[in-house]
């Protein structure tokens, strides 16, 4: 069976990988390719295939204001039968359920499956859509014995991600198409312009003759006819005072200057408007040329004009057209950039920022803001983009939903609200009219962003410096904008929720950091039940009580949900407070019995409590109604530690017994909650046997793989209970090193020296030692320098090194929040150096700190 571990971290890791793979492709077919390649691998699927129409409908540039907003491409709505495998490997065999599953996913536009195949594979079908509607179906097939994550909610998330990727792909296609179209238009226009000039050059010519002082001596018939004039009307007058010119003082002055220049021997040529009969103005290409006699004296001036009104109009149109196209291109690019920024966003905050900074450019507006309703939908919080004067922006940070503002109205009606000019603004939205006027905003619009379930999740506000009617083209562009933003808001909300829950769970259920335990390596896993959102009652706690001893406690509170989480918090606090003042685990449980009198929610909690001597591996333990700890020997054989048993907390009388055992080098102790061994309708010893077999099978792995292997083998898919498991591995002294960097940078050298000594003792060759020490030094230096920016007291940085199976694993953990982006400058080299000398370098930031894991194969003696 494919496994659903429900592990939040794994989910988020997978999700991140998937999102990254889907981000690259620049076409919808490319997205499909990514799905059968990297996405399939990230999901752990065995096989993947993308079905689509025999040919994807062309991505038309219809969302952009370039044309009359063509119809949406014909969506293959009820044409599931017409879907064919486009990329990947379709199911073979006549009995396959794949075609039916594909049809179902396509028709219902919902994730279909998991459905078992006759051959044992499990299939999940995910409907694919872009901004215009359904375009196909992706199928992922999981091998019967695979470990692929297969929780339905994951695939809903994936579907959303795919839809967004497809829309991005479509936008890339639009952009590519637009570029090609612009190029062709330009070629066509240039050709027609050349033709036009040829025609016009043979046409209508006005010619005249002036004396050098500008007096008109003669004009040709064409010029006189065009002006409705007779020679007597103009001949003998200064040329600039004639009917053609005497309609504008500027034009006249320009002509006088040209006459003066020509009289001095210099010709003029310029485009100018002259008056014809009936007052009509035309533009002429005007020339004034001096004519010298044989002695070189200027005797005449020859004015001539060619009617170029049509040419001018053509030029203006061409310019306008090019401007329009430029704008369309810029807007397409802005939409593309916004989609990219939104794709990279991992929180609502990121999404909102991207929107207010880029939305205006997408539709050619001067200003954009975003309004998000608060929980009770009475007030909207505004986030203003750049371009609004500070004092006005300060007045508009929140707005009651029921005021007459475009934003409030769009939120209430879920429809686009428009005020195309100042008059409309003043009439319909008097509240904001004065501020709009002061900010120079002459048109306002508000576009609702509709999320899942038809609820308006946000409103995009837009404003222009000039009146702006809501044309169909603009409407199409707004719809595209709202769709892109809507998907991002929805996805970001999911991220937010996951993150909040993960943080809440970690804060309540997991200790913030692990104690420093010498050769003891401590690893824990917590899996929530069924849904990642169900808060369970499983918990663990571990801390050192003095230099040589550590206490581990792991338990299961009755109940579920926030109530249980609160009890867990109280129990953990109680354990921590009591552990130092009691002589051992049995006594600690006795004290917890007393504690539950004050916190009745803790009655019937089961707890296992272990006190472990770090140097010797001696352990004392006691179980209050809890499954026994499992000891896993170096050779993989297992022992249940069945001593020290008593009833659950709150229902015991008298001192609780404890027992002792010893953890030898190479051995592991595993504490767990009953979700690991209990299955409905199954005897408990079957569960214990399964756990022991899984422990044996995975004993050769490192800690993470050891625990994951056990969980995969023991926790049923869609587990009904949550699960907590904690393992302590006592390494041979030679295999394990753990040192702390204290007091920041001055402590780095001591930690490096510890590592160097340990590596030399292992027998690593000197060059390798230098390189590994360098990598560790860089990682620790980075942690010291970056981890504690918010908190100036340097916290601890923990360096752990483990040698197992010919591979050295180094981890450097800090417990401060790293700056999200690496510090600029030469310090950035650190990571590069680590990557150069180690085989593998992985950075895992989390809310509580950052962990760097590095691996390198190494030859050592013995």
């Amino acid at each position: 069976m494919p496994r659903a571990t429900g592990d939040l971290r794994r989910f988020l890791d997978t999700y991140r990988q998937v999102a990254a793979s889907l981000f690259e492709p620049q076409s919808r077919l490319g997205v499909a390719g990514a799905m059968v390649g990297p996405v399939r691998l990230a999901l752990g699927a065995d096989r993947a295939v993308v079905y689509g129409p025999p040919m994807l409908p062309a991505a038309e540039a219809d969302v952009l204001p370039t044309g009359p907003g063509g119809a949406a491409p014909a969506a293959a709505t009820d044409a599931a039968a017409a879907l064919v495998p486009l990329v990947g490997e379709p199911a073979s065999g006549p009995a396959s359920t794949e075609p039916a599953l594909v049809a179902a996913a396509h028709r219902q536009r919902r994730v279909a499956g998991p459905l078992p195949e006759p051959g044992g594979e499990e299939l999940v079908a995910i409907p694919l859509a872009d901004g215009h509607g359904p375009i196909g179906v992706a199928v992922f097939a999981f091998a019967p014995d695979g470990e692929g994550p297969l929780e339905p909610s994951w695939f809903d998330a994936l579907e959303l991600e795919c839809r967004e990727a497809m829309e991005r792909g479509r936008l890339w296609e639009v952009k590519a198409g637009l570029r090609e179209q612009t190029r062709q238009d330009q070629v066509r226009l240039e050709a027609s312009e050349r033709r036009l000039r040829r025609v016009l050059d043979g046409l209508f010519l006005f010619v005249g003759l002036l004396s050098p002082d500008g007096t008109l001596l003669e004009a040709n018939r064409a010029a006189l006819d065009a002006g409705g004039l007779e020679p007597g009307d103009v001949v003998g007058k200064p040329f600039w005072d004639t009917y053609w010119w005497a309609w504008d003082e500027g034009v006249q002055a320009e002509l006088r200057a040209a006459v003066a220049r020509a009289a001095a021997g210099r010709p003029s040529r310029y485009d100018v408007q002259v008056r014809l009969g009936g007052g009509r103005l035309i533009t002429i290409d005007f020339q004034l040329v001096p004519v010298p006699d044989d002695d070189g004296r200027i005797t005449y001036l020859v004015p001539s004009g060619l009617d170029i009104t049509d040419r001018k109009r053509q030029e203006a149109e061409l310019e306008q057209r090019l401007r329009d196209e430029q704008r369309a291109r810029e807007q397409a690019e802005a939409l593309q950039q916004l989609a990219e920024a939104l794709g990279a966003a991992s929180s609502s905050d990121d999404v909102y920022d991207a929107v207010v900074h880029s939305a205006a450019a997408v539709v050619g507006a001067a200003f954009a803001n975003l309004a998000v309703p608060t929980e009770d939908d009475t007030v909207i919080a505004l986030r203003n983009g750049p371009g609004l004067p500070g004092d006005i922006a300060a007045r508009w940070t929140t707005v009651p939903v029921d005021t007459a503002t475009p934003l409030g109205m769009a939120l209430r009606t879920a429809a686009t609200v428009w005020a195309a000019d100042p008059v409309a603004i003043a009439e319909r939205f008097p509240t904001g009219a004065a501020d709009a006027d002061a900010a120079g905003l002459r048109a306002l619009g508000a576009v609702p962003v509709v999320g899942a379930g038809g609820r308006v999740v946000a409103v995009i506000g837009l404003a222009w410096h000039e009146p702006r009617p809501l044309t169909p083209e603009l409407q199409a562009a707004l719809a595209a904008l709202a769709a892109v933003v809507g998907q991002a808001v929805e996805r970001a909300g999911r991220f937010d929720a996951e993150r909040h829950v993960a943080q809440a769970l970690q804060a309540v259920l997991l200790p913030a950091g692990l104690p420093q335990l010498g050769t003891m390596e401590l690893t824990a896993r917590y899996l929530a039940a069924e849904s990642t959102l169900a808060v369970g009652g499983d918990w663990y706690e571990c801390f050192t009580i003095d230099a040589g001893r550590v206490v581990l406690a792991l338990g299961d509170v009755v109940g579920r949900g926030l109530e249980a989480a609160a009890t867990v918090g109280q129990l953990r606090a109680a354990v921590a407070a009591l552990a130092n003042s009691v002589p051992g685990p049995g006594a600690l449980l006795d004290r917890l019995d007393g504690f539950v009198r004050h916190f009745p929610g803790a009655i019937c909690t089961t707890v296992v409590c272990v006190e472990l001597a770090i140097d010797t591996g001696e352990l004392r333990y006691a179980c209050a109604g809890h499954p026994p700890p499992l000891l896993v020997r170096a050779d993989g054989s297992t022992v249940m530690l069945e001593g020290g048993r008593s009833t659950p907390i709150g229902i015991s009388a008298g001192p609780r017994p404890e027992a002792t055992a010893r953890l030898e080098p190479g051995e592991r102790l595993v504490l767990y909650t009953d979700g690991l061994v209990e299955r409905r309708g199954e005897r408990i010893d079957v569960g214990f046997d399964r756990l022991r077999a899984a422990a044996t099978a995975n004993a050769g792995h490192r800690e993470a793989a050891f625990l994951d292997g056990i969980l995969a083998a023991t926790v049923p898919q869609a587990a009904g209970d949550d699960v907590c498991v904690l393992a302590v591995h006592r390494h041979h002294a030679r295999q394990r090193l753990a040192v702390s960097v204290r007091e920041g940078a001055p402590g780095l050298a001591a930690a490096r020296h510890g590592l160097r000594g340990w590596l030399e003792e292992l027998g690593a060759d000197p060059a390798t030692v230098d390189e590994v020490v360098l990598a560790a030094g860089e990682a620790m230096g980075n942690a010291v320098e970056h981890a504690y920016l918010a908190d100036p007291t340097p916290g601890d940085v923990l360096l752990e090194a483990t040698m197992m199976g010919g591979v050295l694993e180094l981890t450097v953990s800090d417990f401060g929040a790293w700056r999200r982006e690496a510090a600029p400058g030469p310090r950035g080299r650190g990571l590069g150096l680590m990557r150069l000398v180690m085989d593998e370098v992985r950075l895992e930031p989390s809310p509580s700190g950052t962990k760097v894991t590095m691996r390198r194969s190494m030859e050592v003696q013995g």
């Binding site: 780095l748 230098d770 390189e771 360098l774 230096g781 030469p826 080299r829």
Partner: protein, 113 residues
């Protein structure tokens, strides 16, 4: 003086020569950088012999880059001596810093250049 790092300078052939021993990391790099920087004067090369440095990381590399730029601006010049096979040599080579900074295998070579 930082225990991590010992450094002493002598004057040779009109150049300042720093003999550096120990470890250059986040903690000791600032002192290293300051001392070398203070010794640079116009027309006088600064030779830094890192042959006996047992540890050099990106904090130290960053100092070298800054020193190189600073001294260059003052009409001086930074020359780094790292014997073949030394720890500093391999770090500098790894980071490809030898393409930026004048690196020599021996002190004599650096003084002659």
């Amino acid at each position: 003086m930082n225990e991590l790092l010992q450094m002493a300078s002598v004057e040779r052939n009109g150049s300042v020569v720093w003999d550096v021993e120990g470890e250059i990391d986040l903690a000791s790099a600032p002192a290293f950088e300051r001392q070398v920087s203070d010794s640079g004067a116009e027309g006088r090369a600064v030779v830094v012999d890192l042959g006996r440095v047992r540890y050099l990381d990106s904090a130290g590399l960053a100092s070298l880059v800054r020193l190189h730029l600073q001294l260059d601006q003052r009409g001086s010049k930074l020359k780094v001596v790292v014997a073949d096979g030394s720890v500093a040599r391999s770090t500098i080579t790894l980071a490809a810093l030898d393409q930026v900074i004048a690196v020599f295998a021996s002190l004599d070579g650096a003084l002659a250049a």
